[in-house]
Symmetry: C2
Subunit: 260 residues, 2 copies
DNA sequence: CGACACTTTGACTGTAGTCAATGTAAGTGG
DNA sequence: CCACTTACATTGACTACAGTCAAAGTGTCG
């Protein structure tokens, strides 16, 4: 669809030849936040030996359903969407991955979904077989990956609640809040003067719609509505200011503690 | 809601005192299908030592959100639903667990959802700290649990596609198909004469609605519609015959292979 | 039998989807 | 520099699918 550029990994050049990067990990932007954070300096040397940095333009297909994955990767920068679709083309985004998330499914089996770079993406890739050997050698690595998978499962279930039970406004508000929280995690603080948080939408309206189980038009209308209620301000198409997070939270209807 | 019986684990008696069960695992119905399948006979002896069989009536609360889980468990028999809800009471079932599924979240952290026995349930429980020690000692156990978690994540994402993008009929058809496939896995074969598969709905219409992101009425209407289209036959409220699985599959709109 | 929980059916409503037109912004080439 | 293209986004009018509210039906248990 929509004539986007298709770039497979095979066509991507390494940023630098391996031999000239004796200890790339040491200066890695996601050294401590990625799964590698579980490793000691000496263990990291092994990882460094098998890793390869690649840069993919927006729109690149990283892997697709039914494909036996041949590699694993850390997202160093950029945004990756994971999606599934029905035969008639209806699509659902089942995960939005940012740095320092991990891509790939351990222990064989196919990735039953489709992964695509939404922005330009920088990956730190590992060949499948070598990485699985590391998992075996360094139990902490496996455990870290396991914990991340548990967190992803929790997020997926939280999203099931959104998809199955939230209204359109609630969905959009939850999505904006997700981005605002992520911005907060990365050290972005509210503007000193206005107290407003500023977020940048990493994906198009079409992708937001596919993430929230809505149509483009409904997403657009709900954003307009939030704007006219002065819950948000549009700086431009992709940039939004949120003057009062709690107001947005009230609308988003966060999953409550169970009433038991 | 609906005045169901509330029974916490503390109130449940063990089926037999521990000392009189020298090797309960040897005769366990789910010995090979549960996570224990990853263990050797000698390893299993350790597991046997810390496990405890409990039986919970339908409606029992197994654990709830924000509770630090104090145990793990295999489901030996029965059906458990995992659900999340919004403050105003809207509910979404995020997982239906059957035997020999595993309950509980490794590596600490709270279970961010609510687990309830839908039918009478028989559990094989392990105290949290002792079980985590086993995970450390027997890497195969951890790996098996990891693989199961990956499968659960895949199922959750498949369900996200259903919740976000399928129509009411498609949702109901997919649910029936899920049960039919499960029945098949358990050795139930189509009726010799008619070729029909017979399934028993393990949950009420209300729970089906909460699983599919619909209302009770819509579920009921779609079942009626499938009945009048002769895709299914109602034996009684809870028992359904499916004369032709492929017809149901066509309606369910299985997630297609990606078009790439 | 009556009580209660669950299910089905009917009439009506409303939210989000569809179809179509217009608006906006960035990029291309004459 | 300005028309033109292209992709993306917004807005409007209308529709339809699923939700709501209400009543009646079914089945089970004491």
């Amino acid at each position: 669809m929509c004539g986007r550029q298709v770039v497979t990994l095979a066509t991507i050049h390494e940023i630098k030849p391996k031999s000239s990067q004796p200890n790339r990990c040491a200066t890695c932007a996601v050294r401590h936040r990625a799964v590698c954070g579980a490793l000691s300096e000496t263990e990291l040397a092994h990882v460094n030996g098998i890793s390869r940095r690649t840069r993919l333009p927006a729109g690149s297909i990283i892997f697709h359903a039914q494909e036996e994955a041949s590699f694993f990767a850390n997202i160093v920068s950029g945004v990756v969407k994971l999606s599934k679709s029905l035969v008639d083309g209806r699509q659902q985004i089942v995960g939005l991955q940012f740095s320092p998330d991990f891509l790939g499914r351990a222990y064989g089996g196919e990735n039953p979904y489709f992964a695509e770079a939404v922005t330009e993406v920088e990956l730190c890739q590992f060949p499948k077989n070598k990485f699985e050997k590391l998992l075996f050698e360094f139990p902490m690595l496996e455990q870290t990956l396991f914990e991340r998978t548990l967190n992803e499962l929790d997020s997926a279930r939280e999203w099931m609640l959104l998809l199955g039970r939230k209204t359109a406004v609630e969905k959009v508000a939850t999505f904006l809040l997700l981005l605002a929280r992520r911005a907060g995690d990365q050290g972005c603080v509210p503007d000193a003067d206005s107290g407003a948080i500023r977020i940048v939408l990493p994906i198009t309206r079409a992708d937001i719609a596919d993430y929230l189980g809505l149509t483009i038009e409904t997403v657009s209308r709900q954003i307009t509505r939030l704007k006219s209620r002065e819950i948000i301000q549009m700086i431009n198409n992709r940039t939004i200011a949120i003057p009062d997070l709690t107001a947005l939270e009230a609308i988003s209807n966060q999953s409550g503690s169970d009433t038991y």
